[in-house]
Structures are given as C-alpha cells and as structure tokens.
C-alpha cells in the first residue's frame, strides 16, 4: 500500500493537513503557527542542534520540530507551559555564556538569541559563565568580525558556507566547552580560504559573525566631489561584481562611490596618504611621477669660475647605477604597469585597478593619476576590495589583464631576465600563477622542498633564517625582487630561508619545470641567478657569523649591532669644530645628513647618521621602491622619491629626514616646493665619506660595529678601525 500523500495532525488544538514528509516546524509555519528556533533557517538543511523548537508530541521527551517529521493524527503542543518552561531554560543556558549585548545586538538590535530571551522574560541567568572562552576574537578578516564567545554552535554558518555557497570553509571542531567553529584547519578567518562572500554573517543569528565596517573612513560624496554612492543592485550589474554577495554590498553601502572626472582632472597625487583603490569603468588615465627626478640638488651650481673650479676638484658622479650592474630601467608603482625611468608616464584603461597597495596596506600613493579623457571610476574601501580580490570573476579579469599587459614589462624590468625572448615570455604568460598572501602568512618555510620561483608583484616580504637565538632577518624584498632561486639551483633542492608576507602580498609564481626550462634555454639568466644566489648565500653567512661572534651587552642592544657602518666620533680628539657637519652639508648641497649628537659610551659618540642597518626597516613600504640598498651596504634614496616620509617614520633612529626644495616651473599639481627624503649614503661617489675626510683631528671614523665593539668589549681597547680598512667593507681607496 502506497504511503498517503497528505497527513492530518493537530497543532495547538488546530487540525492541519500537510504533505507527507513535512516536518512539524514546517507544518506549523504553513498554518501560521510560529515556533521559535535558533539553528534552523528555511534555506538550509535542518539539524536540530539548538532544541529551542522543541514541542510536546505526547512522547516521553520533547522533540525538535525542525527535524521531526509530522505523522498522521499526531497531537502537537507548541506553546504549553511546560514547553515554554523548557525553552526558557534552554535560552537561559545559552544566555549564560552570551556576551550581552553582543555586536549584532549593538549594531542592529536583532540578535535572535537576545530577542528570544526578552520574549521569554529571561533575566540574569542563574547559571555561571564559563571561566575561559574556547577561542578569542578573530579580527583577521577585513570584512567579517568573528566573536567565538557569542557563538551558540547553531551550525547555520557552516551550512550557509557549504550548502548555499559551496565554499566549504567553515566546520565545527573540538568537544564540550572547547567546541567551536573553525575556518579550514582552524586558521584565522583572514588567512583561510574564505572568500568573504558574507553568507555566514548573514546566516548567523547572534553576534558571532558580524559585518566589519571600515571604521573612521567615509568616502565623501556629493556634487562637490563628483561622487555618488552606488546601490548594491547597480554594482551587481557590473561584470566585475558578479558573484559578490548582494547582502554584503547592502551592508557596506557607502564603501563604493562612483566618481566622474573630466579630462585633465587629478584623481590622486603621489605621496598623498589614502585608503582607497580605484577601478576604471570608463575612459583612460595618465599615470606618472610628477616629482622631479633629482636628489636634493640645487641648480645653477656650475656658474662662475670658482664653481667650475670646484666641480673639477670634487667630482660628482650622478646616477651611478651602471657600476652595480643593476640596469634598473623601471620605477615600480602601485598599478598594473611600471613606469620607465627615462619617461615615467603610462596609461591605464577601463578595467584596470590602481591603488591596491594604498588601499590594502595604507601606503602612500606611488604616482599621480590624471584623467586623460572623461573618466568614470569606482573608488572603494578596503573591505570591498578584499571581497573583490577573492571573487573568482574579478580575480580572473585582473589576472588576464596582468598576463596580457604587465607580465612582460614586469619580467623585463628585472635585470636578470633582460635576455628572455618574446616567445618564452609568451610561453610563460599562461603558465605562471598569481598568488596572494595575507599579512603574516608564510609563503615558504626554511627546509621546504623548492618547487617554484617567485617574483614579487605587490607588497613586502621578509626573508629570515632560524638560528638558535631566534629569527634572523636577512632582507626585505619589494616589487622587482625575486626569491626561490637558491633552492631551485642547489643540489639539495630545499628552501634556505623562510619568506613571510609583511603586508598584503601578491607574487608571480613560476613553477619548477618552467624555471628549469628558463635557465636551460637562457644561460645568461642562469649565470645571473647563480651570481645572485652566491652573493645572497655569502651575505647570509657573514651575518650569521657576525651574530654568533657578537658579544651580548646591554649597550649593544640599543640596535648598534644591527648596523653595518656607524659614524663614531672620538671625543678625546674631537674639538667640536663641526667640520664634519659642514663637510656633509657641503657634499649634499647645503643639507647635512648627520647630527653630531647621539649615544655615548666611554669616549666615543655614535653620531646620528644612517647606520646602513642589516634589517633596514626604512625600506618597508616605500610606494615607489626608491629607497634601496646598494651593493649590500649603502642605503640610498633614488632620485624619484616622492617625499611621502614613510621611510623617515619607519627609521627607529631618526636618521632619515625630509627636505624641501622648489618645484620646477610647470610641474603638475599645486605645490610650490617638493619634499625629498635624505639620509647618509656614505658619499658613495667619493672614495671616503666626506665627514671622515674633512675632520682635521682624525676624530671621525666610519666603523664596522662587530669588529669595533667586539674588540672593545673583549677588553682590548683599540683605535677606531678606519672605514676603508674595516673587514667586510669595500676598500674604495
């Protein structure tokens, strides 16, 4: 006999007829009888974990209405005193551990648990709060805040992520009080494969998963700035927003503004701080560096007999990059293209995104952008950009743009790849992989098998080695740098260092097979990479040796041992004549780069002047990569510095300063002066630093700290080791 197609049951003394297989919950819902629930959502498979929807069906125990199928002639009581009492106790138990008012209750007043508690007149719970939360707050995601203490383990987010969005990121882990939701293998949400679609946040009944607005930032709109807030519906009609959660866009209304610019209008200035990215919808823009390419320099210094005589006596070699064989022809900026050094202007078109680093990492703008024609663009905050970057459609479009337009320039901008042929670049075009890493994420671990070579496209990477005393930072890599060649070229085939993303990083990954083909076909590339690998290994070895041979001393912990070159003044010889300062100013067009004050020990003064640190914190974040190290020693600031001041802020010793000089006539923008950062560059265009050369009393010395302090602390007091003779230094005499 076939089962009946319909059944009849009684719910709260009301006879109802429903299709067979209907749950009690749905049967009641269809007939306008509400049953409270927390874990059940109409569009998700019911699981019956919260038990709030319990009803009395006349059995020994109450049953969860969301999962129990209705039966013919069943008598159900949904709202008896005893049932209400059971629900109240359940809610009270849940409220005992709930951080009331939770984030959702504060934001929108609609926490389902707290609403239920109010309706059941649940006051202060009788039960004790658990002593320690199982997990702390997780703020790693840019758009979703995770508060495990508000989670009631209803599993709605899990089902939303898996059943509705098919992302399968969230799951449950642990037992008892240690039970919690987790992302991938219990990773922070921001580091997991979560695509920030927002479905879990929308599904969550409490404040465990809430929308994280970008606080304190508001995109200005209105007629004065030609910007209008864009509705979610309008955004979803744009191809790039395909696949983005409409709910997320609704919740973040105001985070995307549509702006229109007339031809010639400036969209952003280089060096300005910002927090937004721009996506070009229509039109094209010119992107360039308007700051004059010059070190702090005065013009007209060649006039007059004495000046000409002076120029013969103090040779100034400008832009000595050739001797380093860097041959750097491009200036890296925060855009899909790089600017040629000799002609730093490029164009961006509809579909291009610029300002990613500024938006994600809050770095200064790396270039000036001006509308080349009438332009429509979307300006967006970080949370929206983060969602877009994780959106498959958007990523595919950006990747395609990069491969088509920027990959070739990027490869050619790296000097070691200058000899790659067009056909090989075309071959690589579709084989490289673009990978993104969140701040703090490890790209590769020391000791891992080397399976790929990486080019840095966006962001900064820390390269470090493990040693018994802790982590030793070897270098920082920015756009234009690369890593992974040592492991691939060595016999062991293992990574020799750990590479970690310092901020939001994007790398171009070249797989081992393609790398081997590249070095096989292009011997010059192989030779260059091997030379670089040798230099890096030697440098690392030298640093490890110095670290091991350094005596530990409280005084030295003031950062002196991180220095590669210190300017030290012997106060027993120094007559405080300031000739060193005058010489420095004379060598740098009136602007000194040293201050005759600083740390003192015994009769030595460590002057305030660039220390050429091993761990150059000043280099992290430069939007145009103008601060760099030369030949592993001198830290120099290239002439395209945009004067943002980030390096000056980063230097913990105050050794970098900004100076103004007049902007050339006709320069773009409203500024009459432009700022450039300056720091001691060891007068690399002379055999010896000017301060040392000009001291009349032989009191100023550039020293190698490990040698100098090591011998001093060993009890053997020596005269300062002259700069040019210090081991490990370049002897340029």
């Amino acid at each position: 006999m076939a089962p009946p197609k319909e059944i009849t049951l009684t719910i709260d003394e009301q006879k109802v007829t429903v299709p067979a297989g209907t749950t009690i919950f749905d049967a009641a819902r269809m007939n306008g009888i509400p049953i409270p629930t927390l874990c059940h959502q109409q569009n998700e498979t019911p699981v019956g974990v919260c038990r709030v929807c319990v009803v009395d069906v006349g059995a020994r125990v109450y049953t969860a209405a969301c999962i129990r199928e209705a039966e013919n002639n069943m008598v159900v009581k949904t709202n008896s005193d005893k049932v209400r009492g059971a629900r109240k106790t359940l809610v009270e138990l849940l409220m005992a551990d709930h951080p009331s008012p939770c984030a959702r209750e504060q934001q929108s007043g609609d926490c389902e648990l707290e609403t239920l508690a109010k309706s059941y007149s649940v006051g202060t719970p009788r039960f004790a709060k658990r002593l320690t939360p199982s997990h702390q707050k997780d703020e790693s995601s840019l758009s979703i805040m995770v508060d495990h203490s508000a989670c009631i383990l209803c599993d709605r987010c899990i089902r939303g992520c898996s059943e509705i969005r098919h992302n399968f990121v969230i799951a449950r882990q642990g037992k008892g009080y240690a039970a919690a939701i987790s992302f991938d293998a219990d990773m922070p949400m921001g580091s997991s494969s979560c695509v920030s679609c927002g479905e879990c946040m929308v599904s969550c009944p409490t404040g465990a998963l809430t929308n994280k607005k970008v606080l304190g930032q508001k995109l200005e709109q209105g007629a004065t700035l030609s910007g209008i807030s864009v509705e979610a519906q309008e955004l979803l009609e744009l191809p790039v927003f395909k696949g983005v959660s409409g709910t997320f866009l609704e919740l973040n209304k105001g985070a995307v503004v549509k702006r229109t610019y007339r031809k010639g209008e400036v969209i952003c200035h280089e060096g300005d701080y910002g927090s937004t990215a721009f996506y070009l919808v229509e039109g094209s823009v010119d992107i360039f560096i308007s700051t004059p390419r010059a070190h702090v320099d005065t013009e007209g210094s060649q006039e007059g007999f004495l000046s000409k005589l002076a120029s013969k006596l103090k040779p100034r070699k400008e832009h000595q990059r050739e001797e380093e064989n860097t041959g750097r022809k491009f200036i890296y900026i925060d855009a899909p293209v790089d600017l040629e050094y000799d002609h730093p202007v490029a164009k961006l078109h509809a579909g291009d995104l610029f300002g990613e680093m500024t938006c994600m990492n809050f770095y200064p703008r790396s270039a000036t952008v001006v509308a080349a024609e009438d332009v429509v663009c979307l300006e967006m905050l970080r949370n929206v950009l983060d969602v877009l970057q994780k959106n498959k459609t958007f990523r595919a479009k950006l990747d395609a743009n990069y491969r088509a337009r920027a990959l070739e320039t990027h490869l050619k901008s790296v000097p070691v790849f200058a000899s790659l042929t067009q056909d090989f670049i075309d071959h690589l075009r579709d084989r490289v992989e673009l990978q993104r890493f969140a701040p703090g994420q490890v790209i590769c671990h020391q000791g891992d098998p080397a399976d790929s070579f990486y080019l840095v496209r966006i962001g900064f990477i820390k390269v470090s080695e493990d040693h018994p005393g802790g982590e030793l930072v070897l270098s920082y890599l920015a756009r234009g740098n690369y890593f992974g060649e040592i492991g691939l070229l060595s016999d062991e085939g293992r990574r020799t260092a750990t590479c970690t993303a310092l901020d939001h990083v994007e790398v171009v990954k070249i797989h081992r097979e393609d790398f081997r083909e590249m070095v096989g076909r292009f011997p010059q590339v192989r030779a260059s990479l091997e030379a670089v690998a040798r230099d890096r290994i030697e440098e690392n070895r030298s640093r490890m040796h110095n670290l091991q041979s350094m005596p530990v001393d409280d005084f030295l912990k003031q950062g002196l041992m991180d220095a590669q070159s210190l300017l030290v003044l012997d106060l027993d010889r120094c007559t405080r004549c300031d000739q060193c300062v005058k010489a420095c100013a004379d060598a740098h067009d009136g602007i000194t780069r040293l201050i005759r004050d600083g740390l003192r020990f015994e009769n030595y003064l460590v002057a305030t002047s660039c220390r050429q640190c091993r761990d150059p914190l000043c280099m992290v974040g430069c939007p145009v990569g103008s601060i760099r190290r030369r030949n592993s020693l001198e830290v120099i600031i290239e002439d395209w510095c945009v004067g943002c001041g980030l390096c000056a802020n980063n230097c913990p010793y105050g050794n970098i300063n900004l100076h103004e000089f007049p902007a050339p006539a006709g320069s773009v923008g409203h500024k009459a002066t432009v700022k450039k950062a300056t720091s001691c560059n060891l007068c690399y265009d002379h055999p010896e630093p000017s301060c040392v050369y000009a001291c009349p009393h032989d009191a100023a010395h550039r020293i190698n700290p490990p040698e100098f302090f090591g011998q001093m602390l060993g009890g053997k007091k020596i005269e300062a080791v002259p700069y040019s003779m210090a081991p490990g230094m370049m002897d340029r005499r």
Binding site: L313, L571, T575, R576, S690, P696
Partner: protein
C-alpha cells in the same frame, strides 16, 4: 688635535729639516761678510722657505672652507699647519740673522709672529688636553648651538614639575589646575601644609629658577655643586617623602644646567684662542708679503 704617535713622521721631518737649516747656517754666518742677514742669497732662501711654510700654514683656513674638496685629508693639512708653522719661526730667525730687523715693519712682524707662534702652541696644548676634559666632565654635553634651546627646555620642565606639586604655575604665578597644566596627569595628590608649600616655592623662585634662566648662573648659590647638594638635601628634610622623586628630578635638572654652563666655558677656551691666533696670522701674512715686495724691490 691629539698630538700622538701619528705625528712622528712630521716631528722627525721637522727636526731633520731644521737641523739641516742650522747646519747650513753655521758656515754661512761665519763666512759671510757683514754677518748673516736677510739680504744675502742664503738669507733670501731662508726667507722664501720660511714664508712658504707660513703661507702653507695659513692655507689651512682656506682648506677648511671647502671641506669636501679632494685635495688631501684635512687632518694632513692640520699636521702640516702645526709642524711647518712651528719650524717657520726658527727658519725666519735664520733668515733675519737672529735679529728683529732694522725697520718698524720687520720689528712689528717679529712681534706679531712671536704672538702667533705662542698662541698657536697654547692652542695646540688646549686642543690636546681639553677635549678629554670635556668628555670627562660634561657627560650631558650637547651641540654648542643648541645649549640655549636645551636650557629653555630645562626651565620649562622644572616649571611643570613644581607646578604639579604646588598647584601654582611657576611661569605666571596663577593658581591653576595642576592636572591640566601637566597634560591631565596628576603626579601627586599629597596634601602639603601651607608653609611647606611656601618653602618649596620660595626655594624655586629665589634659587632654582634664576639659576636655570641665567646663562652661567652667576651669583646663584646652586651654581656650585657642593652648595647645591646641601640645599637640596635640606629641602628634602622639609618636604614629604612622596615628593622626593620630584625634588630628585629638579636636582638632576640643576646638574644638567651646571654641565651646560661648564660646557660653554670649556668651549670658549677650546676655540677662544683662535680670536687672537687667526687675525694676527692673517696680518702677519699680509705684512710678510709687503716685506718681501719691498725688500726685493728696494
């Protein structure tokens, strides 16, 4: 400049050069009719050499004007200035036949030359010893041009510290909210008796503040370290324990001010002698040039 073993080559070179000059001079003086004098061939030669050394010594100031020019290290020029300048004096005496000359010009030249040499030797001695003294005695040393700024900062700091304790603004005399003046930080909530508060205020107004305001602190008792220590110790006995840290801070500010005053004195000694040496050297070179022209022409 520290005159150490790095000067040995210059020392021996100068001694040898002088010895050779003397060896030549003895027979020259013995056999020259009328005695050795500036007008003879050898006399003129001595004059040229001596004046040449003087000119080289004088060029040091020009060398220092262009410190970055690659024309030899400045320390080398300084050594040359010291030693060649020193032996130019006996060479000029050999040139003149150990006389001050017959005319007023040569007489004044020799007088000025003597003062220049003596001041130079004094200066070399000062610059040999005084840097060590300054390093030892002024651990709070700062850049000389910054001393007025530091002094002003010390005064402000002392004002704030006393205001925090007494509730009275030391710069304006107005009773203020000490917490606001201190940027919202209340250092102490100690209740002090009126006469005790007055004692601190009196000490500050009469002794400490005038000392901090005045460069040099002339006439102030606490300019003397021993007296200062005694005064602060006495003050501590009158004031509650809770504000002794503030008193210690004020004492430290005092000490720093004393050191800055001492630095000024030492700095003036270190460089003051140049006010005699430098202009007289320039005058000497000018007179020497005039003398050479006149002597050779007429």
């Amino acid at each position: 400049m520290l005159i150490d073993r790095t000067h040995r080559q210059w020392l021996w070179g100068s001694v040898i050069g002088l010895a050779i000059s003397v060896v030549i001079y003895i027979p020259y003086a013995h056999f020259t009719i009328g005695g050795a004098r500036g007008g003879t061939m050898i006399g003129i030669l001595y004059g040229i050499v001596g004046f040449g050394f003087m000119v080289f010594a004088g060029l040091l100031s020009l060398r220092k004007r262009f410190p970055v020019w690659r024309m030899g290290r400045t320390s080398t020029w300084m050594r040359g200035h010291l030693w060649l300048g020193l032996i130019s004096y006996p060479i000029i005496f050999l040139h003149s036949g150990f006389s001050f000359g017959k005319g007023a010009l040569t007489w004044w030249m020799m007088v000025i030359f003597t003062i220049v040499i003596v001041s130079g030797i004094v200066g070399a001695i000062i610059q040999h010893y005084l840097p060590k003294v300054m390093t030892r005695e002024v651990p709070y040393e700062t850049i000389y041009a910054e001393i007025p700024v530091i002094r002003s900062q010390l005064l402000d700091e002392a004002d704030v510290k006393v205001a925090e304790v007494t509730g009275v603004s030391m710069s304006t005399g107005a009773v203020t909210n000490a917490a606001e003046d201190a940027g919202g930080v209340i250092v102490t909530l100690v209740q002090m008796e009126e006469d005790v508060r007055n004692e601190l205020t009196r000490f500050y107004d009469n002794d400490l503040r005038p000392f901090l305001e005045q460069p040099g602190g002339k006439g102030c008792e606490i300019a003397n370290r021993s007296l200062s220590v005694a005064k602060f110790a006495n003050l501590k006995t009158l004031l509650p324990d809770e504000i002794h840290p503030v008193i210690a801070d004020l004492e430290s500010i005092c000490e720093e001010k004393r050191q800055l005053d001492h630095q000024i004195v030492l700095h003036r000694i270190l460089h003051g002698w140049l006010f005699i040496h430098a202009p007289l050297s320039l005058a000497l070179l000018l007179m020497g040039a005039i003398h050479a022209v006149i002597a050779l022409t007429y």
